[in-house]
């Protein structure tokens, strides 16, 4: 007889997520992930001034707001037929890079590591009841680095503030690139902060993730998932030294790398609380339907050519050929840390390209009718904004976030989402403390604030209204 376990809320992430698993013996045989928040951003954006999308969509997510300002700017540039200059792109990419540093630092130290280290008991925030394996001295070191990460991650947001005004929810990223001019004082402050983060990443973070991997080697065998990988590309739009990091690509399990075709992105609604079955983002609707049979999540299920795809740092490192094609909880965690270094290398190159010149900004007239798509990779994976302009106002807006890919429910063919698939077959040692579930799910760096802006909220038919 299978027993059912529900973990709600899965803490140490942005937003509200519930995991429901069926365990037979000690093995997970079924898994469902449900996001627990619905705000309906797509509906709110209809009828707004197109340029408002940049500052508005940032509010989808408190931890990765810059990602949304980048994707919405890209979509608007396509719709407004604005060609971004190399200077504009370089500056915007620099600010976007800081968001990677902030997210990865906070995710690894503040969200992931507490699953493995004993934190000071005198603070109510920290309870310790897991499978701890570090000897006291190593634990002590990791705890010290946990607290230092508060400070170091703050520096990444300071870097955004230099060129963006403030963080979270910056003002600097806009159509055309950026609004702040790179002067020598700003550049040197930015470089100095970057250097501090780089030292921490090289001297502590890299070491810490391999310490983790050493003591928890079994996690290289857990949390594989479907094995299809997707990236929209990152820092790949530069004429020389192409690509700076990763080009857009779809890499199916045991298959060949292919270029991304936007037309092959669909969203399945069969198991989501929305009217409809399958849709393409340009025509996607967001009509809540709480009475829909079989539905168990408010997250739509994005698919590429019908495949559920894993997105994020590991997918990017594998696609760009910088990491062996092996997927697990631990590989995902290591990839996130390695990517910090990769991003810093790119940032140093970008900094060399920046000219002490103005950030290009124009008056951008709004056409009465247009369409735009903004696709980019961001911290947690592939992000897409689709918008339509009618009578100089937004008439349609859809967003597909990285967490929608990773945490999606089943699709119309019954294929599970990557997180669900990653949990199947996992062996749970202690049924009273199924720590494995949280560890695997967190390795995807879920962000439900994001997955839900469009959708998400959890609803189940049998749930009675309270």
């Amino acid at each position: 007889m299978a027993i059912q376990k529900k973990i709600s809320p899965l803490t140490r992430m942005s937003g509200f997520l519930e995991l429901e698993v069926q365990i037979e013996g000690h093995t997970i045989i079924e898994a469902k992930s449900s996001s627990l928040l619905f705000r309906g951003f797509e509906l709110m954006l209809q009828g707004r001034d197109p340029l408002d999308a940049i500052y508005f969509t940032q509010r989808i997510c408190g931890i990765c707001s810059t990602a949304h300002s980048v994707a919405s700017s890209l979509a608007l540039e396509e719709a407004l037929q604005v060609t971004v200059t190399e200077q504009g792109r370089t500056l915007r990419d620099l600010v976007h890079s800081c968001e990677f540093l902030q997210n990865h630092l906070r995710h690894f130290y503040l969200y992931t590591l507490p699953d493995f280290i004993k934190l000071p008991q005198k603070q109510c925030l920290y309870e310790n009841s897991r499978d701890y394996r570090f000897p006291p001295k190593i634990n002590e070191l990791l705890v010290a680095n946990y607290f230092q990460a508060f400070e170091i991650s703050r520096l990444a947001h300071e870097m955004i503030a230099i060129f963006g005004g403030k963080a979270p929810h910056d003002h600097g990223i806009f159509v055309g690139g950026l609004t702040v001019h790179p002067t020598i004082d700003k550049i040197s402050k930015f470089r100095s902060l970057l250097k501090k983060i780089k030292s921490f990443a090289l001297e502590k973070m890299l070491h810490d993730v391999y310490t983790l991997a050493h003591y928890y080697e079994d996690y290289f065998q857990m949390g594989q998932g479907p094995g299809h990988l997707l990236s929209f590309g990152l820092f790949a739009d530069y004429p020389e030294q192409k690509p700076h990091y990763v080009e857009e690509a779809f890499l199916p399990y045991k298959g060949e790398k292919k270029q991304v075709d936007k037309q092959k992105i669909t969203e399945s609604l069969t198991y989501a609380w929305y009217e409809g079955k399958v849709e393409v983002p340009m025509e996607g609707k967001t009509i809540p339907d709480l009475e829909k049979e079989k539905a168990y999540s408010w997250s739509k299920a994005p698919r590429y050519q019908g495949y559920p795809c894993e997105v994020g740092p590991l997918a990017r490192l594998i696609i760009s050929g910088q990491y062996p094609n092996q997927i697990s909880m631990m590989d995902r965690t290591i990839a996130r840390v390695l990517e910090v270094l990769q991003i810093i290398i790119v940032m140093e190159k970008l900094l060399d390209k920046v000219e002490l010149n103005r950030a290009p900004q124009e008056v951008y007239p709004i056409p009465s009718r247009s369409k735009g798509i903004g696709l980019t990779d961001t911290t947690r994976g592939t992000l897409g904004h689709w918008l339509t302009i009618r009578e100089a106002m937004l008439s349609h807006y859809q967003v597909i976030t990285p967490s929608a890919w990773n945490l999606s429910p089943q699709d119309e063919r019954g294929k599970r989402g990557p997180v669900e698939e990653a949990l199947i077959g996992t062996r749970i040692e202690n049924l009273d403390h199924p720590v494995e579930i949280g560890r695997i799910v967190r390795s995807f760096d879920p962000c439900i604030s994001c997955a839900t802006h469009v959708y998400s909220a959890k609803g189940r038919k049998r749930m009675t209204i309270l």
Partner: protein, 323 residues
Amino acid sequence: MKVPLSTSSPQKRMEKGAKAVEELIEKWKVKARSSIKQGEKRKKLKLIWLELTGCSGNIISLLNGIDPELEELLMNHIDLCYNNSLMTAEGEAAMAQLFASAEEEFILAVEGAVAMQDQRYNIIGRYQGKPISAQEAIQYFGQRASSIIAVGTCATYGGISASRPNPSGSVSVAKALQTMRQDIVQLLGCPCHPDWFIGTLAHFMLYGQAPVLDSENRPILFYGITIHDNCERRSFFENRIFAERLGEQTCMIALGCRGPITKTDCPTRQWNSYLNWPVGANTPCIGCAHPTFPDGTAPFVQYAQRARGMEKRGQHNWPSKKK
């Protein structure tokens, strides 16, 4: 202890001096011992931080605070008993910790609005197998908290979560609690500046009550005057030198700057370790700390020529008055 200089013998003067030093040291020792004892007795302030219908950006903003930093507060001054983003417990154990903490005196910080359209739109977790909605959570903990601090524009006025057509039926914390509480401290801002929260919390810790508030329950210290009053680019405004596009380093008013109606100390305080702020980034203030944000302060960016176009269509450049 005075050492009279009139004493004749230098020897005696030295003896008296040494005695004075000893007495002083003893005094400090007694004081130190008693303050350690007091410190042991003085309980750390208990804080519950609920994330409801929002983006969880205010807790991230709090992580950006310095002097004191959140880590310093955690180690020495507060017991943060619940926060979805940072706590180590998960699932049922996390919710048990939340409900157990509410048995003793605590201050409640809330970010995010409260989704009212349907309970299922925002479930914060399961307690004893039952899903707990945002609305239930605010009712339960809002009643029991010794004080409530609403953090961010969603919690204080509904903010982005309640913007039209408000698909989730989101309302502010004060509205969700209706007449139950009149004493909610309102910290607007999208997000709330870490100093505004830490300053308010420090006032509770050191003086046992909220700082001086205005008629909207905002601390006057942080929300006393408009951004326009203290703007570093005020002289450009006075001289009518207006930016026509973002990126210009003059007055942003013609681009739709909401500084004249938005009350915060952003221009003098600045953000992220006091480095910069939106106008400093050559963009207009979008009024993220205004009660009507975002509907009342949109459109956020208006080029002069477009503003003229809109006047023709019978729309105006300025936000409607507070609802």
